[in-house]
């Protein structure tokens, strides 16, 4: 009997606690194999280096992983998640992607966009890959059932 392969998920998230919570959720609930990336740069590299069943993206992140020599990780990327979706489109990667974010607004000044508006824009720009956005509140676990419901609706999980 061939054992079904575990679902492979790429998780791109710079907040360590949130990354841990999400990873735990996918492993415990779906027995998934989770590949973690902490920045735009390492996220895109991981994206190009392997195949996944699902991409889970933070929206705002740093350009690079932070290190001893650069604590900030380079420029902040307020729309880093969108940048990864663009890279997926550019390289014809059709894996489904979901955004899980703590923020209700992104960018600054004229660039300021609400999560609601951003969700609409992403659905228009990436109709074949982007499936939706989930608002994450670390202390409250409602996000787990909303995320599971979305993945079920998109037939990514049974």
């Amino acid at each position: 009997m061939i054992k079904p392969q575990a679902m492979r998920i790429l998780l791109v998230e710079d907040d360590e606690d949130k990354r841990h919570q999400l990873s735990l959720f996918f492993v415990d609930t779906f027995k998934a194999e989770v590949v973690e990336a902490k920045s735009l740069n390492s996220g895109v590299k991981a994206l190009f280096s392997s195949k996944y069943d699902l991409i889970v993206l933070d929206m705002s992140m740093s350009t690079f992983d932070s290190s001893l020599s650069d604590k900030t990780g380079g420029r902040p990327q307020p729309y880093g998640g969108r940048e990864i979706l663009m890279q997926m489109k550019r390289k014809a990667i059709s894996t489904k992607a979901v955004v899980v974010t703590q923020y209700d607004n992104f960018g600054q000044n004229e660039d300021l966009t609400s999560l609601y508006e951003l969700d609409k824009q992403l659905k228009l720009s990436f109709p074949n890959t982007y499936i939706g956005a989930i608002s994450y509140k670390g202390d409250f676990v409602g996000w787990q059932s909303r995320l599971a419901a979305l993945l079920k609706k998109e037939n990514i999980i049974k």
Binding site: N41, F64, L68, D70, E83, D104
Partner: protein, 593 residues
Amino acid sequence: MALPIVLKIHSKYYSKEIDSYITYALEDFLDSKNIRRPSELINMYANYQRNQLVFFLREICVESTMDTYTEFNGPHDVAAERLKICRILCELDQPNKDEYQEEIKNLIRQEAISKMLVEIEQSRIHVDVVKLREWAKKDLSESFLRYLDFVRHGIKTTNKSLKDDPKAKALDSEKESLHFMTVPENEVNALFAQIVSEIRDGFASNPDFGLERFVSTRIRHGIIETRLRRPLESHNLITKREKENGPYKSNDYWLSRLGLSDQIGRRLDQAFARFSASYDQLLRNIKAEWLQVRKRTEDKGLFNFLISEGEIKILSDQLTEQSTFRELFEFVMRMLNEKLTISLNEIRNQFIKSGKKEALDLINKLQRSILTIVDLDTYSELEAEINIARTDLQSVFDQVIQWFVPSQTVGTTSYDIVVALNVAEAIVKESSDNFSSKINFKNGDASIEVTGGLPSFIDIFVNIFENVVKRSGLLIPQADIEIEAPNFEEKAGLVKIAVINELGDDIDIDTRKGDLIRRKSLLEKEDYKKAVIKETGSGLYKINRSLKDFKIVGSPIDPFLDFGIEKGKYFISIGIPYLLIDDQTSSNENSIG
């Protein structure tokens, strides 16, 4: 090459909406030429019009475009590539050479600062082993020789009273009678244990060269609190006490921004005050319970240098009658370094499992508390700031965890004084970003390179700059630095650096002058050793101590420190001795050894 150029022109003159496509076009162009980086185009220049190539390298191959190209591994990698490109542009675009050279200078300076910051971060845990060895040899050799005497006479491990040992009586009568008269039971083992304990005490807590000195100066003296508070202060989630042990200041920022009723405003303010108090208690616990040196069972601290009787026995068993003091010292150092490594591991684990977790729990508790006080619209304004602060807090704890590694060898690094001053400024700006310094050379620009003592140099100026921030009473603290470079005609002399700052209107100058006179008197009497280990105060004692690290053996000139108030301004002047090590250097570039 045309596509990235067209996209760049669109971005520059029309809209930045499609800026991401510039990076993609750059990447596709380089791919089409089978190269990975723009600097590799050097072999293909003949294929392109010069003005196109210059525009491409100058305007498109910039850090903000290249950093999202996955060929690069980090900001330093990107900066290194931009440096290569600027050097190429100096050749290709001669009329604008000055502009590229200025950019090259800034890039090199930023890289030097960045490299130095890493060295400083990795040198917080330090013991001056050279000075420890010198001191131990001077103070403990004689005791060791006495111990070896006992060993040679075969009375190392006996528990019997010497009176009962006929063999002992038969030996050299003068020495034996001396031993007989002055050596009680187990005196030999006690003597050996004493020697080992004294080396341990020197290693762990000597105020001149021991671990305690450096942990106090480079971590406990305000630095760890400043670093760990910074993410919360940036988002106005934490306030300070009005005075020592007093109540916490009101969180005026959020109270005025949210425009709440008195009752709700009061409840919110209390939530912030409770959070501030709890978080500061966490930081106090870290300093008092973790970051202390433990030599006795009753001591607190995770720098654990308790030595058991078994360990003493193992050490003594490694020695023979022919052993030298140097060998003993090396054995003890090996043991102490192992204990240090274990301690650092334990501290890192504590930060990961306990410190960081507790900090996150506190911020989550604050968030839950706020949710019960304000309505949802008001809450969402705060929520974004709390979320960013939470992410930044984790990052800052990770940075602090990296401090607890054995010190890297930085003793022989050469560095430019101006760059090192920039590093000290950068460190202070991490917590006080409105601080700035201005450097002037009193007698014409000079490049002065120092060899060795970088961490101590940084310690001195971080202390000085922090004093300007904390004690000047200025809203926008600024330090004017005056460097007096000697003309280096003499083989030995001093490089003098003065830091001057204005004082705020609220400063009582007479009281301050009195305080400074008192401190000067203590320094002159050298009556400040305990103050070096304490974490409060202006750090003048610590500055003085760090300055002594620049004493050059064989030089008649000592480092000096002077400070006071003149014409309403505070000044602190230091003199760093130099000794010329190469007579062939040019008149404006000299090494201080």
